[in-house]
């Protein structure tokens, strides 16, 4: 019987792999950004699976804090990449 924690960790590893593959394959900015975010979601899922200690136990707060910080970083980086992409588009249109 596979434990829930392991299942979620493996799902995280799988997501990470899918995202990594797509990041390396695609050259379009938008697709690449989506792939990077999938990749990030995989890493965050691994962190959350680590924090889980069982039904009776309180989850470990440290990985949760790390994931929150990671999400903030990922969102700002995505926003910045989109802004750069728009600026490049505007320059191309001129």
């Amino acid at each position: 019987m596979i434990s829930e924690q392991l299942l979620y960790s493996l799902a995280g590893v799988g997501l990470f792999g899918i995202g990594l593959r797509a990041t390396l394959l695609h050259h379009m900015l938008l697709l690449r950004l989506l792939a990077l975010n999938v990749c990030g979601a995989g890493v965050f899922l691994i962190f959350i699976a680590i924090a889980y200690g069982g039904v009776e136990m309180i989850a470990d707060p440290v990985p949760h804090a790390l994931v929150l910080t990671g999400i903030v970083v990922a969102v700002s980086a995505t926003a910045m990449a989109l802004a750069l992409g728009r600026r490049l588009q505007a320059l191309n249109d001129e």
């Binding site: 990470f16 990594l20 990041t23 900015l29 690449r32 950004l33 990077l36 990749c39 990030g40 995989g42 890493v43 691994i46 962190f47 680590i50 440290v62 990985p63 790390l66 910080t69 990671g70 970083v73 990922a74 700002s76 980086a77 910045m80 990449a81 750069l84 992409g85 600026r87 490049l88 320059l91 191309n92």
Partner: protein, 483 residues
């Protein structure tokens, strides 16, 4: 006095916000804050010199829960180097940007870059390393995009997406470490990590992420376009510091934290990649048509040298031989930091004076810009590794360590790399001293030329003649070296 460790992060952070509010006085604020930060970093080095490495727990939170800052011989020396480079580049930038809009955008980002650099060097745990690495990447990308032309924006987007991938791979390794050991504190981890599979996989992931950031061959493809298209003071900081702190984390992990998980084979692999980088980067630098592109490829090569040291440090027995190899590595890194930043600042002067940086059309530069040409020659001396530069001693010890470790083949790589470096430096000087039409009045732009001169003097004279002190400092405080 451990407060100094907070000030090097807080001062630039506050100054960055002030620059947003009072953008009219931004250059003034930036210069003052960088001088204060430089003073604080000197205090940190002095304290490490007197009493060894020290920690500071922010807000008195216990390590593992709060953010812990830590300074030791390695990080404090690199901190001092980066603050000297940053201060010189700040003086330079205060005269470089003529467009008021660009200037107003430059200063807050520039100071954020300083915050990220200092926080990264002083981080005491793996997760903070990730956060500061991202901060550094974001501010570096924004500064690259400041050139605001198509080439720069494309380079910035590539830099950003590849950097994000690198830090996510690093973060995946951090997650595995937390699973296995329940802590991310570097000091606590260095006592716990053994050569078991989980730690080795995590270690491999973190190293792979960092190799992207430090642009080791074949992961260097993003570097030349980004470094060549950024504004000159930004290129100087990117090449001299931003790439180097990623190498710093690799070193910190390899020789300090994960020393027991390192296998000779993996060190040999990185050394081999470094050797290819030396030859490939130097060859590309020789082929480059533009001055800044040449400098960027030369950075790829110089980073390669640093990785050749890894298999030697792993193989050599603990003691004076290993200390010598490590100090030589540090000396090479410091010299390259000073020399490459001086080179980029001078390339910026030439670009502003001539309106281009095509190497084949540099004729007459030596007469029009004598001081800048002198600085390029001086930093060329340091890039080749001629005496009395710091990299002469670094390469000398690299060669002698190779023989002592029984790995003579690195000597061939160093010889070929040095010959190619000589060729690309003299190629520039040949054109610069040649005849040309751009012979107007002799120019002396003190504010932009003198900072570069100071940096080049650090690389050639001060590090060359002052290396004995560095040697003593490192061997006295090399307790973190424990392979």
């Amino acid at each position: 006095m451990s407060n100094a460790i907070i000030w090097v992060i807080v001062i630039p952070l506050l100054a960055s916000l002030l620059c947003v509010i009072w953008s009219r006085y931004a250059s003034f604020i930036a210069i003052i804050s960088n001088l204060l930060t430089l003073a604080a970093s000197i205090l940190i080095v002095a304290q490490v010199y007197q009493s060894g490495s020290f920690n500071h727990a922010l807000g008195s939170w216990q390590p593992g829960l709060g953010i812990s800052l830590r300074a030791d011989a390695l990080s404090s020396i690199l901190l001092l180097m980066s603050m000297i480079v940053i201060s010189a580049a700040t003086f330079y930038a205060s005269a470089y940007f003529t467009d008021p809009v660009k200037r107003a955008r430059f200063w807050p980002l520039w100071l954020m870059l300083v915050v990220a650099l200092n926080a990264l060097l002083l981080s005491g745990d793996l997760f903070n390393l990730y956060v500061t690495l991202e901060l550094l990447g974001l501010s570096a990308v924004a500064l690259t995009a400041l050139s605001d032309n198509r080439a720069a924006l494309q380079a910035a987007i590539r830099y950003l997406s590849i950097g994000l991938l690198g830090s996510l791979v690093f973060l995946a390794g951090v997650a595995l470490i937390y699973t296995g050991h329940g802590t991310l504190d570097l000091v606590a981890l260095s006592g716990m990590v053994q050569a078991e599979p989980l730690s080795q996989v995590a270690f491999g992931l973190m190293t792979a992420g960092l190799l992207i950031k430090s642009a080791l061959f074949p992961l260097h493809f993003w570097l030349p376009s980004a470094h060549a298209s950024a504004p000159a003071p930004v290129s100087a900081a990117l090449s001299a510091l931003v790439v180097k702190v990623a190498v710093y984390i690799v070193l910190r992990l390899w020789v300090d934290v994960f020393d027991l998980a390192v296998t000779p084979l993996s060190a040999m692999l990185l050394g081999t990649l470094g050797a290819i980088a030396v030859i490939w980067g130097s060859w590309q630098a020789l082929q480059a048509q533009r001055l800044k592109l040449m400098a960027a490829y030369s950075t790829v090569a110089q980073i390669g040298y640093l990785f050749i040291f890894l298999p030697l440090i792993v193989t050599l027995p603990e003691g004076p031989l290993q200390d010598a190899a490590f100090t030589a590595l540090l000396l090479m890194a410091l010299t390259h930091g000073f020399a490459k930043s001086a080179f980029f600042l001078s390339a910026g002067v030439i670009q502003q004076y001539c309106g281009h940086d095509r190497i084949a059309e540099l004729g007459g530069t030596a007469r029009a810009l004598p001081l800048t040409t002198f600085v390029i020659a001086l930093s060329g001396v340091a890039l080749i590794g001629l005496p009395p530069s710091g990299s002469f001693l670094g390469k000398w010890y690299l060669i002698s360590s190779s023989f002592q470790a029984g790995q003579w083949w690195w000597v061939l790589v160093i010889a070929i790399g040095s010959i190619l470096a000589t060729a690309y430096v003299f190629r520039i000087l040949g054109y610069a001293f040649g005849p040309g039409e751009s012979v107007g009045r002799v120019l002396n732009w003190g504010r932009v030329e003198i900072p570069a001169l100071v940096l080049a003097l650090f690389a050639t004279l001060i590090l060359g003649f002052g290396s004995a002190d560095l040697w003593g400092f490192i061997s006295q405080h090399s307790d973190f070296l424990g392979i």
